[in-house]
């Protein structure tokens, strides 16, 4: 069985990370699994973990009280779930629900933030990996707002 250092090092989010940094990250990481239907987190909750999916699928959803949940993105193998852990006030902005059996690496966000504060080079590495994800999600959101498959006049 692979140990946590191997799993963290192999995950696309941390792939190629300097071994000393990897060791720091591993000190905050553990293996987790979610059954289909189980929530990773809920909107408004403390963003005190980040999840790196190894296998499975997670839906990001906005709940409309008393009606339904709208899924606006699904994430799968190799993806990072959640970005609110990186910016104050560290609260989740949506729900995340496993829609298949999902195995992930959970990283304690407080622990990681402390290590990033203590070692800005690690902080810069983490931000460099986070920024492209944020930008691609922003671009995807832009396309969703355009509702390109709707009527041209809408």
């Amino acid at each position: 069985m692979k140990d946590i250092a191997q799993l963290v090092g192999e995950h696309p989010f941390f792939q190629g990370l300097d071994p000393s940094f990897c060791q720091l990250v591993c000190g905050c990481a553990r293996n987790v699994r979610f059954e289909p239907g189980e929530y990773l987190f809920h909107e408004g909750g403390d963003a005190d973990q980040l999840y790196l999916i190894r296998h499975g699928r997670v839906a990001l959803e906005i709940a409309v009280p008393g009606k339904w949940s709208l899924s606006f993105q699904t994430l799968q193998d190799g993806d990072l779930v959640g970005v609110s852990w990186a910016v104050p006030p560290y609260h989740w902005a949506y729900d995340a629900r496993a829609i298949e059996l999902t195995r992930a690496i959970a990283v304690d966000a407080r622990c990681l933030r402390q290590k990033c504060d203590a070692d800005p080079a690690l902080g810069y590495e983490v931000l460099q990996r986070l920024l492209p994800i944020l930008i691609s999600r922003l671009q995807a959101t832009r396309l969703q707002i355009l509702d390109v498959y709707g009527d041209r006049d809408q």
Partner: protein, 276 residues
């Protein structure tokens, strides 16, 4: 002068009609004379609803079928609505086939990435029929189909059948979904990097809303595809469909005659212009 057949709408009858989605119907229509029955995937006909008007509509059926033509039409305005309301045995006018098709012969030996958005799956469906019939002529084939929501998925049963095949990789994604949807949610361009194709040997066919095609083409280029390996099916309002009236002009391109299927290098620079 082109032969008169190409100018004159040929009266044909609706043989069958099927509702695909809330406002989208597929009409099976008589082909008309034998010499007008054959078409290349990607080509279109001008369909004329008597007393209402005429619009371009792509072939959406099997190019090997000779007894009928299929057209999948979404009601967005007067002519398309009238088409979707035509009952079985009603007459309509039909002329064509017109335009360029997808470069299926040139793509033989290569891997294919077929990328459709919304109703754009209809003009690509004849490609799927063709490449699955001549499966050994192509490498890996991937179909990436994106649409608005699960209730907007076109040709759902056929997609399920294709998904079960071992020799075709089918990915369906929607822009948003309710919690009962077990599949993928996300926009098409964002999924391009996850397709894992061999950029040096892949030809991509794109059909869908122009913004979606533009951003998908960018994502394909970022993934290493050569511009000349990317083909887009363009839409512009048309009148003559013969390259005479200039109605469909897009920069130096006449979409009816030079297109609708065009290689990316011919469109580069035009796609992001606001109005032409």
């Amino acid at each position: 002068m082109p032969p008169p057949d190409f100018m004159m709408p040929m009266p044909v009858k609706v043989m069958q009609r099927r509702q695909e989605l809330a406002t989208t119907w597929t009409l099976d229509v008589e082909t008309g004379p034998d010499e007008l029955a054959a078409f290349t995937p990607g080509q279109f006909n001008m369909l004329y609803v008597f007393g209402v008007g005429e619009i371009p509509v792509s072939f959406s059926g099997d190019p090997a079928g000779r007894d009928r033509h299929c057209f999948t039409v979404r009601a967005v305005g007067p002519v398309s609505r009238a088409l979707t309301e035509l009952p079985i045995a009603a007459s309509l006018g039909k002329r064509g086939p017109y335009g360029t098709g997808w470069p299926l012969a040139a793509a033989e030996g290569a891997d294919l990435a077929l990328i459709a958005g919304g109703l754009g799956l209809a003009p690509l469906r004849p490609v799927l029929y063709h490449v699955l019939r001549y499966r050994q002529r192509y490498g890996r084939i991937t179909l990436l189909y994106g649409t608005r929501s699960p209730s907007d998925i076109l040709f759902r049963d056929e997609l399920d059948g294709w998904r079960r095949r071992q020799d075709l990789e089918v990915r369906v994604t929607v822009d948003h979904a309710g919690s009962e949807w077990p599949g993928q949610v996300g926009v098409v361009p964002a999924l391009v990097p996850t397709l894992g194709f061999d950029a040096s040997n892949t030809v991509a066919f794109l059909c869908g809303p122009e913004v979606m095609m533009r951003l998908t083409a960018s994502a394909l280029l970022d993934a290493g595809l050569a511009p000349a390996g990317i083909y887009l099916s363009m839409e512009r309002n048309m009148k003559c469909a013969l390259g005479h009236c200039g109605h469909c002009q897009f920069g130096g391109v006449f979409v009816c005659k030079d297109g609708p299927v065009l290689p990316y290098p011919r469109l580069r620079g035009l796609l992001s212009l606001q109005e032409l």
